[in-house]
Symmetry: C2
Subunit: 322 residues, 2 copies
């Protein structure tokens, strides 16, 4: 890891000695070379496995979602575990596919009280609007030890807020009180491609988590702090993003026959033979190199490094353990 | 238009008088209310109409692309008009669909000199790398009259460069020399969802324009100034974004049978009965209101206005003339 942390220094030395600098690695090459210790295994019960009905050629369509860890969206994530354990989503459907926006699934009759599928009684309704979290980080050293948002604070700007970064593997935004000795922060996850959120109606309704969506287009960051984010698709998103677009308002399918049946939704712990999924630790030197390479492509194809990247253009690498 | 330009003032007056402020309009409502004068009609010969083979249910798949106007990418746009007029793309195919990235089309045998389809001789190869344009704006008044990038300079930040804005209906980024009396600028179009670019190999190859792609995911802004942007899809992008993802490297289809046949590509002037497409002038008051509403949603659903928007989250409205 020490070697990976020093690419700039190595380049500078090579140049000083008159040698030609080594060819810059692509982001993919950096990720492929990351040592095993830089990968974090995701607990099976923090995964949700959703099987759609096979496609017209009989191919399976399995989607794997990682639930977001505390302190984010804990009420909703708790809620979601209950219908998943109860197999409540089995027989529901994908009901909405809006181009460059979202795919949404759940009970197609959810809006109709007479027909709606009954949720397990332990699912909470009317959860508080905890769309962001107040977090304090103690200063353990001078300068302050970086807290979650500071861990990988990007040297780049964001179009929406003062701070963006990665917290324990997730893209987050926040407002940090630099003057405070405890680094008081308000932090929230952001709507990047593949993030999963909780459909809701107007405030103060906050949604139960029974109606979910994922982002299949340019990051709709205006939804940040307006809807709860509960996870992200880590495998199989192409089975959602390539679905036919709905032609009704907001991309809802107009005919019931167009909806895509959900065969089953399970917590990962229930799924025999599920791959062990891992994400690249956002605190690792490999990730720092990867993020830098995303922002400043120096590999052969590129003429002009961007000199920056928005946080949703630095997707956190995920893999099935080799 | 004057009334539309004063939403903040109107709100402030209402609040001062103790009246409840009018309900804020959604971006869609603002666009729907834009007067006819705020819409710019696109010349038919600045459109490219691409028909894919019908889908499995026999539905047509028509995609309409608007070519980018001067001064951007003029060499490539000129090149593209030639094979379009010669019907050169007829019988080629969509060959690559990479999730959250691009769809690419052209001659599937283009890499193989023996099999490649011959381009019209007037198509230039080895175009200069004019990925950005130097533009000067004369100061006609004090303060300087806003030039194209300044016309709608966003009060928001960009993760990549100093300046982003809209120039004659297109999203652009730039570096502007504020100190210069002529506002010397380097300006380039940016890779938002739906933008169309020219596939190329390694530098100094710049591509002819025979191989094209469009963005179907989060804006890959690292491609800005590395590849020529020649237009944007203004209708039918769902026929590209919902295609099955390719399973080969970079999302190329592995089997020839998976490629999606292109039946025809025509300049708009050749297509009988083509709708008259219009975009909302980015210099109009309606657009300013729309962009502001995209960045600060105040309509009923939203609890927390974002306070900003990245340029690719402010898509320029396009319509078929009613």
């Amino acid at each position: 890891m020490k070697m990976l942390a020093l690419p700039f220094a190595a380049l500078a030395l090579a140049a000083a000695a008159g040698a030609s600098p080594p060819r810059a690695r692509t982001p993919g090459e950096i990720v492929a070379a990351a040592p095993a210790a830089d990968w974090v295994t995701i607990a099976a019960d923090d995964l949700i496995v959703m099987d759609l009905a096979p496609d017209r050629d009989g191919n399976g369509r399995c989607i794997v979602i990682q639930l977001i860890p505390p302190p984010f969206s804990e009420g909703w994530v708790g809620n979601i575990r209950t219908p998943a354990a109860a197999h409540w989503w089995d027989g529901t459907s994908v009901n909405r596919v809006q181009d460059n926006y979202v795919v949404q699934w759940g009970d197609a009759n959810g809006e109709d009280k007479a027909k709606a599928k009954r949720l397990p009684s332990s699912v909470f309704n009317g959860l508080p609007q905890e769309y962001s979290m107040g977090i304090s980080y103690a200063c353990m050293s001078e300068p302050c030890k970086p807290g979650p948002v500071h861990e990988r604070r990007m040297p780049f700007r964001d179009s929406y807020v003062a701070e963006v970064g990665f917290s324990s593997g997730w893209p987050v935004a926040g407002k940090i009180d630099e003057g405070s000795s405890t680094h008081d922060s308000e932090v929230w996850p952001v709507h990047c491609y593949g993030m999963v959120g909780v459909g809701r109606d107007m405030p103060p309704d906050t949604g139960t988590g029974a109606e979910l969506y994922t982002v299949i287009g340019h990051a709709p960051r205006h939804l940040d702090r307006n809807i709860a984010l509960v996870g992200r698709v880590i495998a199989g998103i192409e089975h959602l993003s390539s679905l036919p677009r709905g032609t009704g308002p907001l991309g809802f399918y107009e005919k019931p026959g167009q909806r895509v049946p959900i065969v089953s939704v399970r917590l990962g712990g229930e799924v025999a033979g599920l791959a062990r999924y891992q994400f690249l630790s956002t605190e690792s030197a490999s990730f720092a190199d990867y993020a830098d390479a995303r922002a400043n492509r120096r590999d052969a194809f590129f003429i002009q490094p961007a000199g920056g990247a928005d946080i949703c253009n630095i997707p956190v690498p995920v893999r099935a353990e080799p």
